[in-house]
């Protein structure tokens, strides 16, 4: 990995400022640019640093570095893929200055939906996936509409949404996990659904591929679309955005719909990986996703942050979990370490030089 070259950044054309924080600000060349770039790519540096540290402190067995060993890296990306996909949706929400606490419960609802539709209703994979994604999107859009139309804070709306989604999931499943058996018979799901727990060429887990594909897609969306400019504008200054013609309500609803959609997708993956749709699954995932976004350098105040940061943040959390486990660090100590990392990432944002 070569750190991004600061000079090259300075040479970037100054016209058409990219839709990001303080686009018009120009630091003097030389070391300020270096400092600025360090903070801009903070989570990426953090990811590289944690990656290197993990290699260094990983236990070694038979001369083989376990952290880098067969399948361990694939395990890491697989393990973070659900949180990562949720975090991608969460990034949009947080960029407009909102929060979505319902995603973990929507994941549980989608997992139950996937299992129930295929096993109990005997539906095929495609209709099941489409219906479940539609449910997630509609759920998110409804929350977004309540936020945008009635003007209730998203924290409250999605807190209510969390309860509602959990309740619906429990009613739908009868309170118990719905096991998924594979086969062609009645009460069996199509065999192909189990591909979600497999890997491509036995190396790259399918959920990881989906996470990376969605991450890159979202990165491109956030980089170059009018929608992305609207998102940043609303997060930066909603009033100014409205006055300059940004369709604030529509963007709000869309953002929450995206979050619901991706949470539902994560739920489908969850059901495929565990061969079960349990209504209680995914509890607390919203907090892990928020942690990934925050470590990625996106401000909870909205208007500033990046998708690349979130992806890096999710991977960083995954590597951290993995290396702590490989070194047999006590489970309670692991929680404390993760807490410290989140605070450290947020503190770094505060240290970032402010220019006025």
């Amino acid at each position: 990995m070569t750190p991004p070259n600061p000079t090259a950044v300075e040479e970037a054309p100054a016209g058409t400022p990219p839709p990001r924080r303080r686009p018009s600000l120009r630091l003097p060349r030389d070391r300020h640019a270096l400092v600025d770039n360090f903070f801009r790519f903070q989570s990426l540096f953090g990811l590289v640093a944690v990656f290197l540290i993990a290699i260094a402190v990983s236990p070694v067995r038979n001369g083989e570095n376990i952290f880098l060993s067969s399948g361990n890296l694939a395990n890491i990306v697989r393990a973070v893929s659900e949180i990562g996909i949720i975090a991608v949706g969460m990034t949009f929400v947080i960029l407009i200055g909102g929060i979505d606490l319902s995603v973990g419960a929507v994941l549980g609802l989608a997992a139950v939906g996937s299992a129930t539709l295929m096993v109990d209703s005997g539906m095929g994979i495609l209709p099941t996936v489409l219906i479940v994604l539609l449910i997630g999107t509609a759920f998110g859009a409804t929350q977004g509409a309540i936020v945008a139309r009635i003007g209730i804070q998203s924290f409250i709306v999605t807190l209510a949404g969390l309860q509602a989604a959990r309740g619906i999931a429990r009613m739908w499943s009868g309170g118990l996990g719905v096991p998924i058996a594979y086969g062609d018979g009645p009460k069996e799901a199509p065999e192909a659904f189990s591909l979600l727990s497999g890997s491509i060429n036995g190396v790259l887990p399918v959920p990881a591929v989906l996470f990376i594909a969605i991450g890159i897609g979202a990165l491109l969306v956030l980089r170059s679309t009018a929608f992305a400019r609207h998102v940043y504008a609303i997060g930066g200054n909603e009033k100014a955005a409205r006055l300059s013609g940004v369709p604030v309500r529509r963007v709000r609803i869309t953002v929450f719909a995206i979050s619901g959609l991706l949470a539902a997708l994560a739920g489908i993956i969850h059901a495929g990986q565990l061969n079960q749709g349990s209504p209680n699954d995914g509890s607390g995932y919203e907090l892990d996703a928020i942690a990934a976004v925050v470590i990625g350098g996106t401000s909870l105040a909205g208007g500033s942050g990046s998708m690349g940061g979130t992806i890096a943040g999710a991977l960083l959390l995954g590597i951290l979990n993995n290396i702590l486990a490989l070194n047999n660090i006590d489970a309670n100590v692991q929680l404390v370490v993760k807490g410290l990392v989140i605070v450290a990432a947020a503190a770094l944002q505060k240290l970032r030089p402010r220019i006025s």
Partner: protein, 335 residues
């Protein structure tokens, strides 16, 4: 373009990570899997992975302690414990990390059967002996299962009621565990089988308190109003029995009603202490199987025993004031 640069950087990292994974996977093909099944024998070092479903439940914490303490007495045994915090996905990742670490034996107390079956099979297929504790996994891709028998425990409690606690008969209320959970159903069934020998005993009410002490209290409040002449309370676990005791005490009836629980955890807040201190008449041990798992691990790893029993069902111990202090010490409880 800054965005392009960032995207490229992230992409590059992803590609780097995945290509590393690819190349390492190929390199590892030669010896992958074979070193997992370490040769048994004495005088060797063995790493045992203990995958726990949820450390936050006292019963499971005691199980971890039992495993760790028993392993201290076996030279060469080192135990590492992971906590899935009631998350199936986390427990799958925990077991995968154990496999990466090259553990010599896996002890797992699964959060749920179905989601963990595949990863347990993965470990077992790589030659790692797997001992499943308390809750089962599906299929038979594990070495051994060790667990308690809730029907037998309920029956032991019922027989104690029939012969010792209420030989003249009386009115009993039942406070049951979470509806739909297997232990609650089995503890209820066993109890009815046990008291059947004494027709003078009537079960006048049965309410759920979902395993919780605070709910045991509120349920007992209501049942005392409906049945003021209760003789005894059969609770499916100790915390609910303690809650019921508190409710009776508030109504001034704690000395006329007898309380029994199940679980008998050797911890200061557990049922054994409650019996010793006179709040409960009796409790029945639901064994963790932790010590038995290490005994079996020793047979497999140190003694090179090939055939261990596929299923071990543990008995229960009845705890009354006579043996409470002794059992507490015997189970390694903290004073």
């Amino acid at each position: 373009m800054r965005y392009a640069r960032r995207a490229v950087a992230v992409l590059a990292l992803t590609v780097l990570a995945t290509t590393t994974a690819c190349s390492v996977e190929k390199a590892g093909d030669g010896n992958g899997g074979t070193d997992a099944a370490a040769e048994c024998g004495s005088g060797k070092e063995f790493l045992i992975g203990m995958s726990q479903a949820n450390n936050a439940e006292p019963y499971r914490q005691v199980m971890n302690d039992d495993v760790s303490n028993a392993a201290k007495d076996v030279p060469g045994f080192k135990v590492v414990v992971s906590d899935a915090a009631q998350d199936n996905s986390k427990q799958v990742a925990d077991v995968e990390n154990f496999i990466s670490q090259g553990i010599n034996l896996l002890i797992i107390s699964p959060n749920e059967a179905k989601p963990l079956t595949a990863v347990v099979k993965k470990a077992y297929d790589q030659g790692i002996p797997v001992i499943v504790l308390d809750r089962k996994v599906e299929g038979d891709a594990y070495t051994a299962f060790i667990g308690g028998d809730n029907v037998a425990i309920g029956k032991a409690a019922g027989e104690y009621y029939a012969k010792t606690l209420l030989p003249q008969g009386g009115k009993v209320v039942e406070i049951s565990g979470l509806p739909g959970s297997t232990p609650a159903a089995e503890r209820a069934q066993g109890f009815r089988e046990g008291v059947a020998s004494n027709p003078q005993i009537q079960i006048v009410a049965s309410q759920t308190a979902e395993w919780l002490r605070e709910k045991g209290q509120s349920v007992m409040d209501a049942m005392l109003k409906a049945n003021p002449d209760i003789n005894a309370v059969y609770a499916h676990n100790d915390p609910m029995a303690e809650g019921a005791y508190l409710a009776a005490k508030a109504a001034g009836k704690e000395s006329t009603i007898k309380f029994t629980g199940i679980d008998a955890l050797p911890v200061p807040s557990g049922g054994i202490k409650a019996v010793e201190q006179g709040r409960l008449q009796a409790t029945f041990q639901y064994p963790t199987g932790g010590r038995e798992a290490i005994d079996m691990a020793k047979k497999i790893l140190v003694d090179c025993q090939k055939d261990v029993p596929k299923t071990t069902t543990l008995g229960t111990t009845q705890i009354t004031k006579d043996n409470a202090a002794q059992v507490y010490t015997q189970l390694g409880g903290k004073q």
